[in-house]
């Protein structure tokens, strides 16, 4: 130690395990990406049909709605929250915009905007309950999940709105641009653009830094001068809007708006986030990982199906993956300098 400087030496770490821990700690996307690549290679070997343009576009199509939900979910989980109502908001928004466009006779663009506004308002409600009433996000969204699903049935009379009865704009997200024999749907394009937008916002804006800081240690963030209440509110509200966009994509995917779908979407969105390496304890991860996580779910479902594995065992495999992912996250969190 010198007499004039307070120098701190950087410790060396030599074991391979420790190096791996540091590598994953610094680049949380690497792990999920490795899993995704391995899964694609493995399923391609098992069944030659897997790695065909037609099948891969099907995987992307199947994944799009969950990925959109998981995008909003990621923002919330980064703040150490959780949103159990993601799927309910998406489905409710899809019903509302479909009913506006059909029964209410509102012009399609306006019906769409009204649907987005409703989704945003539902997200904002979650945000108010979390920041003002200071209830735990798990409880808040458990409550709103139940409320939204019940309202859903009330508003729709438990009836499905057929896509054929809607203006073209409502089902436009299901249309696709053919690239060779790969079909890229407009819904997928919207989803990918939004992922790009939020990857940028999280990494390169002050808002993004504040989301991470709030999730990391909310008290520390507050003392550092961040208005954590505002950050949380913005996150829940933005997520609500993203879920509503997911609802629009859902209409295109199903060619209808149905109140009876999507019960599994809530948990699937959390699965995608976790598989993508975002920590349920907040402050770590990102949307790129979530996209990879959603693709992992899609690839596994599709690949296992092509390999002739029964549906029940597909869920088993995904559940196993989630447990492994969370265990790895815990290990990475214990990183030492």
């Amino acid at each position: 130690m010198g007499t004039t400087t307070a120098d701190f030496e950087v410790r060396r770490h030599d074991s391979i395990g420790l190096r791996l821990q540091h590598l994953l700690h610094g680049n949380p996307v690497l792990g999920p990406l490795a899993v995704l690549v391995l899964a694609i290679v493995a399923f391609s070997i098992v069944n030659g049909k897997f790695f065909s343009a037609a099948n891969l576009s099907l995987v992307l199509l199947q994944v799009t709605v969950i990925a959109m939900l998981a995008l909003g979910q990621t923002l919330i989980i980064l703040t150490a929250g959780i949103d159990l109502s993601a799927g309910a908001i998406a489905v409710f928004s899809s019903i509302l915009m479909a009913l506006f466009a059909t029964d209410a006779g509102v012009p399609a663009p306006l019906a769409l905007l009204l649907g987005f506004a409703c989704g945003t308002a539902m997200g904002a409600l979650n945000g108010i309950l979390v920041t003002r009433i200071k209830l735990p996000p798990f409880i808040v969204t458990l409550g709103t999940l139940t409320i939204f699903f019940s309202l859903n049935s009330v508003v729709s009379n438990s009836e499905t709105v057929r896509g054929a009865d809607m203006p073209g704009l409502m089902t436009w997200t299901g249309d696709a641009i053919p690239i060779g024999s790969f079909r890229l749907s407009y819904g997928s394009i919207i989803m990918l653009l939004l992922f790009g937008f939020f990857a940028y916002a999280l990494s390169s804006t002050a808002w993004g830094k504040h989301v991470y800081a709030t999730g990391d240690d909310i008290e520390a963030a507050r003392l550092a001068g961040i208005r954590t209440g505002r950050v949380l509110f913005s996150v829940y509200t933005t997520a609500g809007l993203l879920y509503a966009v997911a609802g629009w994509i859902l209409i295109g995917r199903l060619a209808s708006a149905s109140p009876n779908v999507g019960t599994e979407y809530n948990l699937d969105s959390i699965t995608a986030v976790v598989l993508g390496g975002t920590s349920l304890f907040g402050g770590r991860g990102g949307v790129v990982g979530t996209l990879v996580g959603a693709l992992i779910v899609g690839v596994f479902r599709n690949g296992l199906q092509l390999a002739g594995v029964e549906v029940v065992w597909q869920g088993f495999a995904i559940g196993l993956l989630v447990l492994v992912a969370v265990s790895i996250d815990q290990w990475i969190r214990k990183v030492k300098g």
């Binding site: 120098d7 800081a213 008290e219 300098g337």
Partner: protein, 254 residues
């Protein structure tokens, strides 16, 4: 006579029937390290919170450079140039050193990139962060992009102190900066505190650690039962005198 940089007169803070600060004074002179010591419950932390805006006193006055100030929250105090390093450090472990230095006051890119796309000027923030760290002689922390959680306790403290020194224009308040550190790291942090003072920023240091206080303080403010009962210097009194005054075993001088 020089004006104190920060001066408090007759501060009172009650919590229900409990009187945390009972008419306490404090003065911090330019370019000094003022240690604040006192037994548990003497009102040290309430006093410091009043100065850093975390607590609004019921009565009494605070002067900054001779002008009266009224802090309603920590942002007010910070805007006035008073930076506080809390015992809990207030760093975001997952963010890197540069992000932490600029947390809550990020700099955006000039022009459209900043105003429309809200893009952060990461390059400037990093080089500024590196400059602040090396000015304080924490130069061996070379990788400014390193996550704070991968740093040791002393290194984290260094980041927190560097942040306060970088943005505090008037006063830096440090709450128990060596409490969680080993001997070697404590010494480095003490040196860091001297460096901050030598750059012209007066420091208020709250500490339980008498050897540390006597090693670096210019003056020592002793708080007892909610009041300042004495101000001594390491030259005028011994460590055992200080403890005796602090606990009431010895009457305060004068």
């Amino acid at each position: 006579m020089t004006t104190p940089v920060l001066e408090a007169k007759g501060l009172i803070k009650r919590y229900g029937r409990v009187v945390a600060i009972d008419g306490s004074d404090l003065d911090l002179m330019p370019g000094e390290i003022l240690a604040v010591i006192g037994d548990n419950g003497a009102g040290k932390s309430s006093l410091i919170k009043a100065l850093s805006g975390a607590v609004v006193p019921d009565s009494g006055e605070i002067f900054l450079d001779g002008d009266p100030v009224h802090f309603r929250n920590p942002m007010d105090a910070r805007a006035a140039g008073i930076e506080t390093v809390y015992q809990t450090l207030a760093v975001a472990p997952g963010l890197d050193i540069a992000d932490n230095l600029f947390l809550g006051r990020e700099q955006r890119m000039p022009g459209v990139l900043g105003s429309v796309f809200r893009m952060l000027d990461r390059k400037t923030m990093r080089s500024e962060a590196a400059r602040h760290m090396s000015e304080l002689g924490v130069g061996t922390l070379q990788n400014i992009g390193q996550a704070v959680e991968s740093l040791s306790g002393g290194q984290r403290q260094a980041v927190a102190v560097a942040r306060s020194a970088a943005f505090g224009s008037k006063v830096v308040i440090l709450d128990e900066p060596t409490a969680a550190l080993g001997v070697k790291e404590s010494n480095r942090v003490l040196q860091l505190i001297r460096d901050v003072r030598d750059r012209g920023l007066p420091v208020i240091l709250i500490s339980h650690n008498m050897p540390h206080v006597f090693e670096i303080a210019d003056r020592i403010h002793i708080q007892r039962l909610g009041r300042r009962i004495a101000v001594i210097t390491p030259q005028s009194h011994s460590m055992s005198d200080a403890v005796a005054i602090m606990t009431g075993a010895q009457p305060p001088p004068g």
